[in-house]
């Protein structure tokens, strides 16, 4: 029997102490479309980066045609015929389509004449082969997202790649474009390529894939042929059989409506017609796929994206914050998703990070009072049990979970009425996760309204009093707390809810 096209064995990879992959095995044969499924943060993206050589694994081996390597570089991956179509196309925005394709496909030697005519012709051929009507002479930054994706696919097709990774290629494509893409994928398969296909849309997987592997928490849950499984079973594999941990008890009963949103529109970030209420003392979970608009909704509420229509009422007062400072003044706090870039400033000490949003309150006349600051930050360090060498330690020296707690502490210090938490436990170890969950509950019991954005299904189900599911920039459904995970996942995917099975 011929060796598999690509075989990964025991691939492990950690980022800053967080284990993103814990020994994953994965096999891809030629002439196969192999779907990769998993929740956000299950390790799919990391696995792809290892395959394309963008990142080197800490352990494990990669075999191509039976030849084992420990890791790949982008150049090697390229030479071995591995290509990837990223969610965010890695194209050069200032250059033309023909040039983008040329840069990918032509050798990297500097002293080589460029045959522009041939380049254009090849680009035109490749684009027409995948059924895209894009002018090879247009600059990539002028193209829409799906068009850019098609350019990426054209590159891959042109490279004659044998291993093609497609990371949610249909996420922003129209029906027709999808059909075109599927035809291209089937064509590639019939030519003997192996395709790793990542998608959240289960119907696509059943329409297109031969096999499917499910990842959860950085491990492979299992591989199976698509004909041997069904949607309900896949959803259960993705979310796990049961809630893996105990969540704190919900409060007795939430109070009055504290935040009420009516027909909110923020077109610059794709938010349309969102309406819901959050009561004081309530934890309102926001679930949905990546790109469904959860973070964008938070940005609109926090003054980071302009609201153009609808009303936001907080404690009976209609507000429309134009910047974060105004939102903070209204009692809104936002713990952002991207901790490193937005949540903390790593180079600055813990104490300074904690007080960053309350300068005006604790420093009258703007004069620093270091002792007061230190006292306040220690209070939060104790309260949230932040493990650090001291309040003066640079925030970046803390572990991921403790960095997150610093970010939360900054916003608790503002004494908010509405606390928005965006993926508060992503990349956080289990101990810190439990502590953060307990903290959220105790905050809610103090009368704060909590908006909890999370891609971790058990978390959003275990923590929330009600769950809003977002899809395509709007709030699609509101489910009661403690709903079944498959029901929430189905709502996020836009599927009819699967029948609950006993056990």
């Amino acid at each position: 029997m011929t060796p598999p096209l690509l075989e990964l064995k025991g691939i492990a990879k950690a980022y800053a102490g967080v284990q993103a992959l814990k020994g994953v095995d994965f096999t891809l044969h030629s002439g196969e479309v192999h779907a990769l499924l998993g929740e956000n943060g299950a390790g799919k993206s990391t696995l792809i980066r290892v395959v394309t050589g963008a990142h080197q694994p800490d352990a494990g081996s990669i075999s191509i045609d039976g030849r084992a390597l420990h890791y790949l570089t982008p150049r090697q991956a390229h030479a071995l015929g591995i290509a990837c179509i990223y969610q965010q196309p890695a194209l050069f925005p200032e250059l033309t389509v023909a040039e983008n394709i040329g840069l990918r496909l032509e050798p990297a030697t500097a002293l080589r004449r460029i045959a522009w005519k041939r380049r254009r012709q090849r680009a035109r051929d490749l684009l027409s082969r995948i059924g895209a009507s894009i002018d090879p002479e247009s600059e990539v930054r002028e193209l829409s997202m799906p068009e850019q994706q098609l350019v990426e696919i054209a590159c891959t097709v042109g490279a004659g790649a044998r291993v093609i990774v497609m990371d949610e290629p249909t996420a922003s494509l129209t029906r027709n474009e999808q059909e075109v893409l599927f035809t291209v994928v089937r064509e590639l398969r019939s030519q003997g390529a192996g395709i790793i296909y990542i998608s959240h849309r289960l119907e696509e997987i059943f329409a297109l894939a031969d096999r499917v592997t499910v990842l959860r928490d950085g491990s492979s849950v299992g591989s199976t042929g698509v004909t041997e499984t069904d949607e309900a079973r896949l959803i259960r594999m993705m979310v796990g059989r049961e809630l893996s941990q105990v969540y704190p008890e919900a409060a007795d009963s939430p109070g009055d409506a504290l935040l009420s949103i009516r027909e909110l529109h923020a077109p610059s970030v794709g938010i349309r017609n969102v309406s819901f209420e959050v009561r004081s003392g309530e934890v309102f979970g926001l679930s949905g796929l990546v790109g469904a608009g959860r973070t964008e909704l938070a940005h609109a509420l926090f003054g980071l994206a302009p609201i153009t229509g609808g009303t936001v009422t907080l404690r009976g007062k209609e507000i429309r914050p134009r910047n974060p400072a105004e939102a903070i003044a209204e009692g809104i706090a936002y713990v952002p998703e991207d901790r490193r870039r937005h949540g903390i400033i790593g180079e600055m000490p813990v104490a300074q990070n904690v007080t960053m949003a309350i300068h005006r309150r604790i420093f009258p006349a703007s004069l620093l009072q270091l002792r007061k600051e230190d006292r306040l930050s220690r209070q939060y360090i104790d309260e949230l049990s932040i493990r650090c060498a001291g309040s003066w330690a640079p925030a970046s020296s803390l572990s991921g979970g403790n960095q997150q707690k610093v970010s939360v502490a900054r916003w608790l210090a503002t004494k908010p009425r509405l606390l928005i938490l965006d993926e508060p436990t992503q990349g956080v170890d289990i101990g810190a996760k439990v502590e953060i969950h307990r903290l959220i509950r105790s905050l809610a019991s103090q009368g704060i309204a909590v908006l909890l954005i999370s891609s971790d299904l058990p978390e959003v189900i275990g923590m929330s009093d009600r769950i809003g599911v977002m899809r395509g920039g709007t709030l699609a459904e509101i489910l009661p707390g403690r709903s079944e995970a498959p029901a929430v996942m189905a709502a996020a995917l836009g599927q009819p809810a699967p029948k609950a099975e006993s056990g």
Binding site: P324, P336, G346, E347, M356, A389, P394
Partner: protein, 345 residues
């Protein structure tokens, strides 16, 4: 950036202070050396001379510090000094304003010029480097256009010249203004929440925005402040030399930036101190003055300054390079490429 991947062991002396300690030693060594070769060097008179001659570059270096702390840069300040000097002269001689009024008007012009830079940077989100490169040309060009390239303003009254040449309580007359700006900028950067915000912007403008810090407003503040203080430097310059010319302050921005970077301020923003900048100014000023006393060519000071700047920059990168090499070696020893596989580049 220092201390990112260090252990949690207590470290009382942040990395930035270490630069300043080294610089302090350099300044002391300079002092001792020139003292040994030039008998007149250590006299009080000469110290005052050094202060007089470094006040204007010192002022510009001081206000350049918060700008660089935000991760920006201002190349137009030397040109602005020239423009302010001749506008000051013009307002006094040709418009007939009394000197104090002309001085106030000049400060206002400086502030406006700084705000102009800031507006282009914040509104159009253009890189400060290229904006101030444009105004570098524009301000100097306006100064030349107004004076037709030849006109100079002289015959200032003695009471005004005393501001640049006289004594005040036995100290050079520049001392009070210089000292006031030092104290003001030091407090702004080190003792107020504004300084904190400026640093936060320098480390991560996005991170600062998410914490509710008004990034545009602070950018406008630091560039406008630089304009005002540069106008002050222009007045002191005019008083010291007794004349205002269009080429006043040529190249000052370069020496100011050198002093700031030498003083341990990171060109990437966030890290740096005002006293570091002062030490940087002192190191350059003493070098300039001392070489004359040591009967060495003055130009050696420029070469040494430039070399010092490059060394300081490269030196700051060494820990990063070591870290990168170490990480590289780690991945290699962890997984040596299998024979037959293409070597990593």
């Amino acid at each position: 950036m220092p201390t990112s991947s260090k252990s949690l062991a207590p470290q009382r002396l942040p990395a930035t202070y270490r630069t300043e300690v080294v610089l302090l030693v350099v300044v002391l060594l300079e002092w001792l050396y020139f003292n040994s070769v030039g008998p007149r060097f250590a006299s009080l008179e000469n110290s005052y001379d050094i202060l007089r001659h470094s006040a204007e570059i010192g002022l510009i270096a001081l206000v350049m510090t918060p700008i660089i702390l935000t991760g920006g840069i201002d190349l137009s300040l030397g040109s602005l000094l020239g423009l302010c000097a001749i506008l000051f002269g013009k307002l006094w001689r040709d418009a007939g304003l009394p000197l104090p009024l002309a001085g106030v008007a000049t400060l206002a012009i400086g502030a406006l010029a700084g705000a102009f830079n800031a507006t282009l940077i914040t509104r159009l989100r253009l890189p400060p480097l290229i904006v101030t490169l444009g105004t570098y040309s524009l301000f100097r060009g306006l100064a030349e256009a107004i004076t037709h390239g030849v006109d100079t303003f002289t015959n200032f009254p003695a009471s005004f010249l005393a501001l640049g040449q006289g004594r005040w309580l036995g100290l050079p007359a520049q001392a009070p203004a210089f000292l006031a700006v030092i104290v003001g900028i030091w407090i702004l950067v080190h003792a107020t929440a504004h300084g904190r915000a400026i640093r936060a912007i320098g480390f991560s403008a996005e991170g600062a925005r998410f914490a509710g810090i008004p990034v545009s407003r602070y950018t406008t503040l630091v560039y406008s402040l630089a304009g005002i203080v540069t106008a002050l430097a222009a007045i002191l310059y005019t008083a010291r030399l007794g004349q205002a010319k269009a080429d006043a302050g040529t190249g000052y921005e370069l020496f100011a930036i050198t002093a700031v970077v030498l003083g341990g301020t990171s060109i990437f923003g966030g890290v740096g101190t005002v006293h570091g900048t002062l030490l940087g100014v002192a190191a350059i000023a003493i070098l300039n003055n001392g070489l004359v006393h040591a009967r060495l060519p003055r130009e050696a000071a420029g070469v040494l300054t430039g070399a010092l700047l490059l060394l300081a920059l490269s030196g700051a990168m060494v820990p990063k390079m070591v870290e990168r090499l170490r990480a590289h070696r780690r991945t290699r020893t962890a997984s040596p490429p299998t024979p037959g596989s293409p070597a990593p580049p």
